[in-house]
Amino acid sequence: MTELPVEHGLLFAAALFCIGLVGVLIRRNLIFILMSLELMLNATAFVFVLGGALHGNADGQVMFLMILTLAAAEIAVALALVVHLYRRYRSLDADRLEAMKG
């Protein structure tokens, strides 16, 4: 059990979050985008676990569990859609999705 300065933990989470965000912003391949999303979710999960440890209660880990559930649910639907996309365009390019605009 180590006493980590909270600020450092938070900064780490923020950095991880931003890295994930960069991934969402720059990648065109949807698989990569999804992976970047996972990074972001994990960054937030880290914050909760950190909080749980800091305050010594279970709420943080409960929230982590919820995030985990969400990630699972989301990825299931997302992958189904990705497969659809690939079938349709033979590509995972997110930029192909631009029929609707204006």
């Binding site: 909270v6 938070l10 989470a13 923020a14 979050f17 994930g20 965000l21 969402v24 949807l30 985008i33 999804l34 999303l37 972001m40 979710l41 960054a43 937030t44 999960a45 914050v47 909760f48 950190l50 909080g51 800091l54 305050h55 209660n57 709420d59 943080g60 409960v62 929230m63 919820m66 995030i67 969400l70 649910a73 989301e74 639907v77 997302a78 859609l81 990705v82 659809h84 996309l85 349709r88 997110a94 999705l97 631009e98 029929a99 609707m100 605009k101 204006g102």
Partner: protein
């Protein structure tokens, strides 16, 4: 922990969950759209009917997560009604399409959406907020992309719904990330996930609230987080678009109302400029974007951006104006009712042919083709524009009242400017509708839903007293 009283208070949620599962089981038992619809509507009706009984006399905390009180009751009733209307729209779609899309699952998903909304209506805890939100989100991802899963409907519909589903999913997840990060900060700050007044000294609350605001603003589609909404409205099946426009936004707004009401007010002071900025940008941006939009669904999306911008005034007024909560609650009702009407009408008029036609021109001469539908459209648009004798006016009246009471003069000025722009495109549709009829085109089914909603819209516009009397219970 959970005793008889709590169980009774939880009855609406349980019924809705049961409806979801029951409908699923029905579908598994026999794939019949009508049967599924029946199960769904029956379950919801039961929920609605038992709701008064289920509501406790005094506000009741059911686990740390939920607080079942008048506020919950009001929004629960509203959301159940909305879900029923969306279900009806869904049903109509089946009847008009003989292609036999599988819609049974969609009722399950709808019910889950509703469950999420009910959780949000009662949430007094961030975990409940999060789960409720994600219930709505995940279910609506699938619903938005729904046509992909059916038997081949038209190509464009499939393409658009796929695109909409993916965009919604990715962007919504990003926003969820922000939201979670924000909640995490707040949790880190206070060590509790319950809605409570923030301790005044801490500084982590500020970034927490700011990030929370980002997430919320995305879900409410406020400028500049609004980009997803027109695409989703356009791509999703019309009932689902209606759902996204009303239920998910309304539920999130309800929970924010409760959160702020529960005491994050003093922290909000530092957020006021940010919220005011979002509100102004939304009011102006939404209306400007809608100005010359040619697709009716996108236009509605933009117009709801503006409406949510108006609604944000309530959040700002909440600490200062006594009417703010009432205003917010009523506006959600007015907005939902009107938007549902609009989407029902779109379903009725635009999707009559084989290929849906969402251009504004689809409405040309509607009033001469189908006078009642035309009149309904006119009333719906007037309600959106906030003209008296429609529920939209009472809503706008309330908003302005809250703004005046709280002295938000600048925002009111922006509201006036935005409304003025808004008048242009609402009237534009009316004028198109009044144009001499171009070519005769059919009218789809489901017009009774439109009439019903319009009637309600006028009735509540003329005599909103029943609802108004309920509001102070909040």
């Amino acid at each position: 922990m959970i005793g008889a009283a709590e169980l009774r208070a939880l009855l609406p949620l349980m019924l809705v969950a049961l409806t979801a599962i029951g409908t699923l089981l029905l579908a598994g038992f026999r794939r019949d759209a009508r049967l599924a619809a029946l199960g769904y509507q029956g379950g919801l009706l039961l929920t609605l009917l038992t709701l008064p009984w289920a509501l406790p006399e005094q506000p009741l905390e059911v686990t740390p997560l939920l607080r079942i009180d008048g506020f919950f009751g009001y929004f629960a009733a509203l959301f159940v009604l909305v879900a029923m209307a969306v279900g009806l729209m869904m049903q109509r779609q089946v009847r008009s399409k003989t292609s036999g899309e599988r819609v049974e699952e969609s009722y399950v998903l709808l019910a889950i959406c509703l469950l999420g909304a009910l959780v949000l209506a009662g949430a007094q805890h961030f975990a409940a907020l999060f789960v409720g939100l994600e219930l709505i989100s995940v279910a609506s991802f699938a619903l938005v992309a729904y046509p992909c899963g059916g038997r081949p409907s038209t190509d464009i519909r499939q393409r658009n719904s796929l695109e909409a589903g993916l965009k919604y999913l990715v962007l919504s997840s990003v926003a969820s990330g922000f939201l979670l990060f924000g909640i995490g900060c707040l949790y880190l700050d206070s060590g509790s996930l319950a809605f409570a007044p923030l301790p005044p000294s801490t500084s982590l609350a500020l970034p927490g609230l700011a990030l929370l605001l980002v997430g919320v603003a995305f879900k409410l589609a406020l400028v500049p987080f609004h980009f997803w909404s027109p695409d989703i409205y356009q791509g999703a099946p019309t009932p689902v678009a209606a759902l996204v426009a009303t239920l998910s936004k309304g539920a999130l707004f309800a929970v924010m109302l409760r959160y702020l009401w529960f005491g994050a007010l003093q922290e909000l002071e530092t957020l006021v400029p940010a919220v005011a900025l979002l509100a102004s940008l939304s009011m102006l941006g939404g209306n400007l974007l809608a100005l010359r939009q040619r697709d009716i669904k996108r236009l509605l999306a933009y117009s709801s951006i503006a409406h949510l911008g108006y609604l944000l005034l309530v959040l700002l007024a909440i600490g200062h104006a006594g009417v703010a909560i009432e205003a917010g609650a009523f506006y959600v009702l007015a907005y939902s009712l009107t938007t549902l009407g609009a989407f029902a009408l779109i379903g009725c008029v635009c999707e009559a042919g084989d290929e849906p036609d969402y251009r504004l021109e689809a409405f040309a001469g509607l009033i001469w083709r189908a006078p009642l539908l035309g009149a309904s459209l006119m009333l719906i648009l007037l309600s959106l524009a906030g003209i008296p004798l429609t529920v939209g006016f009472i809503g706008k009246f309330y908003i302005v009242a809250a703004g005046v009471d709280a002295g938000l003069w600048w925002l009111l000025a922006v509201l006036v400017a935005g409304s003025a722009i808004g008048l242009y495109y609402y009237l534009r549709i009316i004028l198109i509708m009044l144009a001499p009829q171009s070519e005769p085109s059919g009218i789809g089914g489901g017009r009774w839903l439109v009439y019903g909603l319009t009637l309600l819209l006028v009735l509540l516009g003329v005599y909103p007293l029943p609802v108004l009397q309920w509001l102070p219970v909040l």
